[in-house]
């Protein structure tokens, strides 16, 4: 802390000016695609084609967003993605937490092998399961429904989620559980009333990471869904991009709609997101 204060009071040297310059330039390059998307999404098509990407917009237009929402069917894609995200994400995390609890706090035959079995899932690419999952889903009669996404999404979320929850549960003192066990509490009660409330930070982190990756997922959805009414946002955007490739302002409105929830989550929960992505990989 003291080091930081003394450094930031240091006068600007040539090195630091250069550093700011380089970072500033890179920052502009990194930010410009976002800026172009927002500007283009809110200008009229005529304005765009007359004056080009670089010009300052002469008009402000809500029409593009409305077009994308209604004609471009983003209202349907949003509904589907929200249903999947808000049902599947908590369900998956609950299932992972249930599994992580005995793996963290009980000893039983095969405990370590089961943990390792789950961890190995991190090495299995989705690609290798697509066709068998497609066949399974057909046998289950779930073809082309939103529900078909749930089992593979949950299965592929489990390895990281069990790893993170197990690590977190392990840090909770076992004495808390033993006291409750002596009072005759069942393990399910312990799990629900002691472990889960204490694990709120880990749960919040996992919720946000999993929301983002669920919202963004393309490959499984591409294989399992094929009709317009069940498309999620990435599939919808893919379709929209094909149809509106020359109507640039509408296209950008569609892009903006598809990234808006992620940007909001990112700005609101950046801390959790970063802690989850980096801390999930290793204990700090």
């Amino acid at each position: 802390m003291t080091v930081e204060v003394s450094l930031s009071r240091r006068p600007l040297g040539l090195g630091r000016v250069l550093l700011y310059l380089v970072l500033g330039l890179l920052g502009v390059v990194w930010l410009s695609p976002f800026v172009i998307v927002v500007i283009t999404a809110f200008r009229s098509e005529a304005d765009f084609f007359n004056y080009g990407v670089f010009s300052i917009p002469h008009s402000f237009e809500w029409r593009n967003l409305l077009d994308a929402w209604e004609i471009g069917n983003f209202q349907v894609y949003y509904r589907n993605s929200l249903i999947v995200s808000f049902l599947k994400v908590p369900l998956g995390i609950l299932i992972a937490s249930l599994a992580a609890y005995p793996l963290a706090k009980m000893r039983f035959p095969l405990d370590n092998s089961i943990f390792l079995l789950f961890l190995i899932g991190l090495a299995v690419p989705i690609h290798v399961t697509l066709l068998p999952v497609f066949i399974l889903i057909r046998h289950l009669g779930l073809s082309n429904t939103l529900w078909s996404l749930f089992p593979p999404y949950i299965a592929f979320g489990l390895p990281l989620q069990i790893f993170v929850m197990r690590g977190f549960f392990k840090m909770i003192p076992t004495e808390l559980l033993e006291a409750a066990r002596l009072d005759g509490a069942t393990e399910l009660r312990n799990f629900w009333l002691i472990m889960m409330p204490l694990a709120k930070p880990a749960l919040a982190t996992l919720f946000i990471i999993d929301f983002v990756s669920t919202w963004n997922e393309l490959l499984i959805a591409l294989v399992l869904l094929n009709s317009e009414s069940v498309r999620t946002v990435p599939l919808g955007l893919l379709n929209f991009q094909g149809q509106y490739s020359s109507q640039i302002t509408d296209l950008n409105a569609g892009i903006l709609l598809s990234i808006l929830p992620i940007i909001v989550v990112f700005l609101a929960f950046q801390r959790y997101l970063v802690a989850g992505l980096t801390g999930g990989a290793l204990k700090e």
Binding site: L131, F156, Q241, I262
Partner: protein, 319 residues
């Protein structure tokens, strides 16, 4: 005589083993193996075994068959599909593209992410804003990233060509994604924009662990900034290197969304990667056995690269 002794020895050993097995069993029996932990694990195990483990193994079997993905008949052909891969020019091109993708990912976003992390670990004004700006593209849906860059590269009114015309380099303007020579580099530029944030964040997390005294001591000894970076920062980050490099390699071999949504493997087949070639074979050309073999090439590379990382993870939670 000999035989007797040998058989006696064997008998003794068998008896010993019996005893040790009995004590092993009784340890659990005496404590009465509780079903509770298994009940907690049941939902996760059922879903995991049904929708991840079983499909992965089944597709390994499918990769040994000739099958269109629809008909009831599967013809077992052994390793034929894997042998055919080497005679398939598109597969070799795809593999080469994945290797290029890996090398570029290791060189640019990984080293760039490290550089940004070191820069943004200093007490700079607005460093949190900078971190957010570099990291933000990494959380976007890849289809959206592909759409954004698809029109940035647009031949007629895309950002890049407009800019080139503005600065008098209009002759360079063309359809970047439609050109055989520029399509792959163009997707790589997008991948760099999208991918620099994650390694940066990992390195920033890693940098927090390095004790400040190390730098102070080195500074007193007269080490310059470069020497301090080389002899303190880099070695202290060794665990982070493992994570970042592992993730870079596996994500490079799994890349699908960006290629599928930006170029669809084209023009011609120039930007085909293993994952897209797997997808086209399995789900569009009805070469399900062959597609499964490509999928298993990806899985094999992925398993090989990830196992050390998983061991590191498992060890980090050992008590």
């Amino acid at each position: 005589m000999d035989l007797l002794e040998v058989s006696k020895g064997v008998g003794e050993r068998l008896a010993e083993r019996e005893v040790s097995r009995a004590s092993y069993m009784s340890r659990f029996l005496r404590k009465r193996v509780s079903v509770t932990p298994y009940l907690f694990l049941l939902p996760a195990l059922v879903i995991y075994l049904t929708f991840l483990v079983y499909p992965a193994i089944y597709s390994l079997y499918l990769s040994l068959t000739e099958w269109d993905g629809l008909s009831p008949q599967k013809k077992f052909v052994g390793l034929q599909n894997y042998i055919s891969l080497w005679g398939d020019p598109v597969f070799r091109l795809a593999l080469r593209n994945n290797v290029i993708w890996t090398v570029v990912t290791l060189l640019v976003p990984t080293i760039g992410g490290l550089a940004l992390a070191v820069a943004l670990n200093q007490p700079l004004r607005g460093r949190n804003l900078f971190r957010a700006v570099f990291y933000a593209p990494g959380v976007l849906p890849l289809v959206a990233v592909a759409s954004i860059w698809g029109w940035i590269y647009n031949p007629n009114f895309g950002f890049i060509n407009e800019m080139l015309r503005h600065i008098g380099l209009g002759s360079l303007a063309h359809g970047w994604l439609a050109d055989y020579d520029t399509a792959l580099p163009a997707t790589l530029v997008t991948a760099i924009w999208q991918g620099i944030g994650l390694p940066m964040m990992f390195y920033l997390a890693g940098l927090q662990v390095i004790p400040q005294e190390q730098y102070e001591a080195a500074a007193i000894d007269g080490a310059n900034a470069w020497q301090r970076f080389w002899h303190i920062t880099l070695p202290w980050l060794s665990q982070t290197h493992v994570i970042v490099i592992t993730l870079a390699v596996i994500s490079s071999f799994r890349v699908f969304d960006l290629i599928y949504a930006m170029t669809y493997g084209g023009p011609g087949q120039t930007t085909q990667v293993l994952a897209t070639w797997m997808y086209f074979n399995t789900f569009q050309y009805y070469h399900a056995g062959y597609g499964s073999a490509i999928a298993w090439v990806i899985a094999g590379i992925s398993l090989l690269v990830t196992i050390p990382y998983i061991r590191l993870m498992a060890r980090s939670q050992q008590e």
